[in-house]
Symmetry: C2
Subunit: 344 residues, 2 copies
């Protein structure tokens, strides 16, 4: 018997903040570019796409399934897309997830550029290399961790983003501030969502900082064995509510963050005024902080969560604003707390 | 505008040569192991699998399609296989390809162990992390490069391998010798396939050396931008013939190697006696060196090959035995040569 360890290599991603989409053709030959986008983005921005070959999918989370991937693969083969193809995901989280996944599996991986066009995709979905498709009603059960060559932030695409989607995106922005950066939390508290919608420079400099939080966490823990779990703040309960009630993602995790803040006050060192400040900030950015959910139903989903281990569940709490912590909570204690006044 | 490069991390694979399959349960909790195997291997070796949970697929290349992957994913979800699952690919190249692919996409990647049970899988399919599924008749159009945690070589599984499959496997063994190691070529020329079938120690020491060739090539070029292409020696034409005529993989690439040797004599510095020695060695190990294929049909498939780039195709030639080289051949020249006497 002989044992031989063999070490494999790594990769570098280039983040371009505040650039124009058109720089793409400076980086790659136009004929090698292949856009994957959805009907909404294509409808609004077709004239800016400069005739780049495009695969246009129907919008919406319901399309984030293998059938969509199968259809895209067949189109790529028909187009004779080769190993030198550069797949460009241009859209919100569903598009960047599908584009990322397809790029990672087509001919065992082709180059990928992500151009997120929603706040949610800019600060979360497109950052960190995670992609995924749903299997039936189960979210993100299939996917890869696949880093793009480039990630372009062109804020002009946000001009057609509905206000509801700005609000959704700010839920993740606030989450990042809560777990890692009290100064960003303060900055958000001194502004409104309209400040960001109306001032591109303010938005650009803030998004870059906020993306930096996620990026640092991901870099410290690419394969999600430790610190990356902090990014689940508000998501354990949030995902359960989202699955159960079909709320927008940002709304669901806002409610989840309020619940996690309440738990943080009971089980970690988050003060009551800090907990209230979190609720207040979420409300200020148009997010719900109250939701009369069916606690039994939600508990059933939670008890099946993949973050459960034996009789404990790994939960993200805050010691204070800007300091998230992974804590293992006994299931019976969690059950009691959830059936009590979690959203007060 | 701001550009920020970000570097991601790497991984280590442990190769265990000449071990017993049972060491698996020393490395992982048995309840976390999940075998993917086929009806042949399962039928022969069921009693050795020690009750480890298994997903058993039908054997054969025709099953290497997305439909099989879909069915396995559904079974994994039904079994509530979580992120701590260790998928074990136990079988020949089709099984290790499917198991590797599934492990790379299920829940964005779970741990993978490969236990190749054929010569072909031991020296080729399971080594280097490449996996793939076919899309219709197009081979390996979808897949990933995903490294296992462990790769176990348990030669006792070979006791039930049909002679035809030994012959198939030796095609890849000879390929490795051709592109990188003339001393292994000589060693093969001084033995017969029965020497290896009948002497486990001879086999074990030779397989380890032969795997070493592939491993070195892969390590120098994990993402196949350069040297790894050498492993395609005989495969460009071989794959086309395989797709067209449904020959065994080893037979197809044997014919492909003869063709590539002929091209190497025309376009690189391979001598005629060396070309003949390659044909002779392939014939000695029971492999075909002649095949009257339909050149028009084969050309159509070649023109769609993923190794095609604009008007050239990247082709692997030999400067001499033990020295492969990547050469870009203009498509029109290649077409002419293929329509001539490529297999003389």
């Amino acid at each position: 018997m002989k044992e031989q360890p063999v070490k494999f290599s790594s990769k570098t991603v280039h983040y371009f903040f505040d650039v124009d989409f058109s720089i793409l053709t400076e980086h790659y030959p136009k004929e090698k570019l292949l856009l994957i986008t959805d009907e909404n983005v294509y409808g609004f921005h077709r004239q800016r796409l400069n005739g780049i070959k495009s695969i246009v999918i129907k919008p919406g989370e319901a399309r984030k399934q293998q059938a969509t991937v199968d259809a895209i693969i067949l189109q790529l083969l028909e187009m004779q897309a080769d190993k030198q193809t550069v797949i460009v995901g241009l859209g919100g989280g569903v598009v960047t997830d599908i584009a990322g996944y397809v790029a990672s599996i087509y001919k065992r991986g082709v180059r990928l550029v992500q151009v997120p066009t929603s706040i949610l995709a800019m600060v979360d979905a497109a950052v960190g290399g995670k992609n995924g498709i749903d299997v039936g009603e189960y979210k993100n059960q299939v996917g890869t961790i696949y880093q793009p060559d480039l990630l372009l932030f062109d804020y002009s695409f946000l001009s057609t983003l509905p206000r509801e989607e700005w609000i959704n995106g700010f839920a993740e922005i606030i989450k990042h501030a809560c777990i890692k950066d009290d100064s960003q939390f303060e900055f958000l508290a001194h502004h409104t969502i309209d400040d960001f919608i109306n001032d591109k420079n303010l938005l650009a400099s803030f998004i870059e900082k906020n993306v930096g939080i996620k990026l640092n966490v991901v870099l410290n823990d690419e394969m999600e064995t430790g610190e990356r779990k902090l990014l689940n703040f508000g998501h354990t309960l949030g995902h359960a509510i989202e699955a159960c009630y079909n709320l927008p993602h940002g709304h669901a995790i806002s409610i989840g963050m309020v619940a996690a803040a309440t738990l943080s006050n009971e089980l970690a060192s988050l003060s009551l005024p800090e907990k209230d400040a979190i609720k207040q900030l979420l409300r200020k950015y148009g997010l719900p902080v109250h939701f009369a959910f069916d606690t039994d139903k939600i508990w059933d989903i939670l008890a099946n969560d993949k973050k459960r281990e034996n009789n404990h569940m790994s939960f993200i709490l805050l010691n204070k604003i800007g300091e998230g912590v992974v804590q293992s909570i006994p299931l019976n204690q969690l059950k009691k707390l959830i059936h009590q006044r979690l959203l007060d």
